[in-house]
Amino acid sequence: MGVKLLLDKANVPGIRTYEVYRREGGYRSVEKALKQMTTDEIVEEVKKSGLRGRGGAGFPTGMKWSFIAKPEGVPRHLVCNADESEPGTFKDRYLMEFLPHLLIEGLIVSSFALGSNDTYIYIRGEYAWITNILEQAIEEAKAAGFLGKNILGTGFDCNIHVQRGGGAYICGEETALIESLEGKRGNPRIKPPFPAIQGLWMRPTVVNNVETLAAVVPIINMGGEEYAKIGVGKSTGTKLISACGNINKPGVYEIDMTITVEEFIYSDEYCGGIKDGKKLKACIPGGSSVPILPANLLLTTAKGEPRYMNYESLSDGGFATGSMLGSGGFIVLDEDQCIVKNTYTLARFYRHESCGQCSPCREGTGWMEKILQKIETGKGEMSDIDLLWDIQRKIEGNTICPLGDAASWPVAAAIRHFRDEFEWHVKNPELSQTSNFGLQHYADPIHVPA
């Protein structure tokens, strides 16, 4: 049983209400931070904790906070990115739905550390019922004196506003989120200037993921150094993983980043093995945009060492033989899944969600989708596979925001690791419509008990 810092109280009945949450020790970090610590000390604790952004990129949070510009007389803002739209990722939904006060608590402490008097939660439009839960929680916190004017008599004012998005994946990109929050079209901004200098309404802004902000609570409660002892290397603390796909127990799990991928998939504490006793074929370990890995490379690195569920181990070997922890959207594919169809589905998603601002992404994502559809429906040619490779190469790195990369990585990884399956589709146009390529050499090296 691993350490649980975020979800340890998730099963307490009524934890969604302020009374129960407070009784279970909630809002202690607010009292500690606002009364006993200076803003610099909080930032220092977060730095010491080694907390990395949980939204996908894994940028050190303390460092991000220390970049925020502090010009005289200009308000600063903290924005909570709850526009969780990455296919396969649903950890923030769980956190906000069951522990709304944990997020509010983290937001108050973080707002205090950053000097944000108006803090925003930008939540994806489809999470309508969670908006109500959060607003309820904010009302309760306000009534208890943890929000509003002069919090706990410290003179610090803070209001939290919940803003629903319009249902665009791109608004999860921080500058597009800011644009959308300002009421404009959600197009990513061209950086620099970074949000830490000119963000929301051209004021210094920090945008953090829901889980990152929630993790500030245990960091303040237990101290940054204690927090850093959990986990391994630069992957400190705990991480929420939303596991889905062909597994026995899909759901949100809190892991302490020291367990192996094998344990995560097969132990009964987590995913509980592959559904129906089938074999593992592939896995997208960190949300749809990270490279897909075949079973053999997922469970062990190219060097033959076991792979762990943390930032460093999952990205071991670079994109050639590794992937990324990303946002923790763990999608497992069993032997009956078709990689071509899977890639086509992802390409269709990115084509639909491209904002259309810069040309490589706008045109390239649509082109990749069309070619993948062609291959998937049995009309592909061998040259199409090379063409796909060339298109993704020309999108990656040449776009304004990371959506271009996110759209090209899955395609690149699918061709890199499963090229024979693509070729099989091209060579067997009729057979590929009725059956699947199966496992071939990606066979599951783990013995699955009957």
Binding site: R351, S354, C355, E363, G366, W367, L387, K394, G397, N398
Partner: protein, 373 residues
């Protein structure tokens, strides 16, 4: 006032000193020629433009004197400011050439390539770009996207299929007019320029969107299908206009004024007026003053941009030069009777007649005579 600091920047091996805050693109344009990256969406007169088309991507091989690390990715030169000691590779970088060819391919992917019937042909930035950086074949074998037609009023014609979504017209409407009525609707590859809902663009300065449009997506309805730009003679002219500078380029054929545009510099951007402001022109000048008598003609206009417009006009006078080599010299001593073998191209002439055997300029009579003989 503090003294302006100057930064040294090297583009493709050529070093230049520019004021701090200059973008790489502007520095490269000061050097000029091949070194200047192409730009489809950036427009120096429009605040906030640029960064979208990705044709101006360059490689920064040395960040600055202080921090010599190269930048990890190619950067949009139109939106990246120079640092002291920065070294930039444009056409000397293989990565840039490759990425740019990719961008051109992406831009042309859904472009209808209807240049033969497009009013922009001849002065189209996308034509120039694909000629300079593109490939002659496409790898795209699917149906190109199309759009529902929108009417933007009596003066401006929108061809959404040709649009490359550079956002220039959006910035123009934002910065020149008091209320923008058109914008980008929808997203991704089905994003389009439109009004909500079916309004006409009727601001006095909205006609400038035609001048800023790099392709034939926004064209002048009063000039539509009237003539090809390369048959027209551009003439600088001015009039005393109460609402704008009145400094324009007239596009004449004979004495007839076919269209009126603002004056554009070698980068295809609006020229500044002598008082340093961008020379935007009003709709009255652009659409209504189509008589030569409305204007004071200043003289022929130099078209210095890579373009077919200046071909054949004022040779040697305004930027074009008369070739010095003779046909004999370039043709290995042979003097051809005709410059083109039309046998290969058309069935108009009799394929069984060898045109080289016809003495002097050939015409209909020549053919009949030989055939009958």
């Amino acid at each position: 006032m503090s003294e302006q600091t100057f930064f040294k920047v090297t583009v493709d091996g050529i070093t230049i000193e520019v004021p701090a805050g200059t973008t790489i693109l502007q520095a490269a344009r000061q050097i000029g020629g091949e070194v200047a990256p192409p730009a489809m969406c950036y427009y120096s007169k429009l605040k906030g433009s640029g960064g979208k088309c990705r044709t101006c991507l360059v490689e920064v091989s040395k960040g600055s004197e202080k921090d010599p690390r190269p930048m990890p990715k190619l950067v949009a030169s139109c939106r990246t400011t120079v640092m002291d000691g920065m070294e930039v590779k444009n056409i000397t970088s293989e990565k840039v050439v490759d990425a740019r060819a990719g961008v051109v391919e992406f831009l042309l992917l859904n472009h209808p390539l209807d240049c033969p019937i497009c009013d922009q042909a001849g002065e189209c930035h996308l034509q120039d770009l694909s000629f300079d950086h593109g490939k002659s074949k496409t790898r795209f074998e699917f149906q190109k996207r199309t759009f529902k037609k929108h009417d933007l009023g009596k003066n401006i014609q929108l061809h959404m299929t040709r649009c490359i979504l550079c956002y220039r017209c959006v910035f123009t409407a934002d910065q020149l007019t008091n209320k923008r009525v058109h914008g980008i609707l929808d997203r991704g590859d089905h994003a389009e320029i439109a009004t909500h809902i079916e309004k006409s663009l009727d601001n006095e300065f909205i006609g400038n969107v035609i001048d800023v449009c790099p392709v034939g997506a926004l064209t002048d309805k009063t000039f539509r299908f009237k003539n090809r730009v390369w048959f027209l003679k551009p003439m600088d002219a001015h009039r005393d206009c109460p609402s704008c500078s009145g400094r324009v380029t007239l596009w004449n054929r004979g004495d007839e004024v076919y269209r009126v545009t603002a004056r554009k510099d070698e980068w295809g951007e609006i020229e500044d007026t002598p008082d340093g402001k961008p020379g935007w022109i009003c709709n009255t000048c652009r659409f209504d003053k189509k008589e030569a008598s409305d204007w004071v003609i200043e003289g022929p206009r130099a078209i210095s941009r890579a373009s077919v417009i200046s071909q054949g006009h004022y040779a040697g006078n305004v930027g074009t030069t008369i070739p010095t080599e003779t046909f004999k010299a370039v043709n290995g001593g042979r003097t051809p009777h005709l410059l083109m073998d039309i046998h290969d191209e058309s069935e108009v002439n009799k394929p069984n007649i060898h045109l080289g055997k016809i003495q002097g300029p050939s015409h209909g009579d020549t053919f009949n005579k030989i055939e009958n003989a």
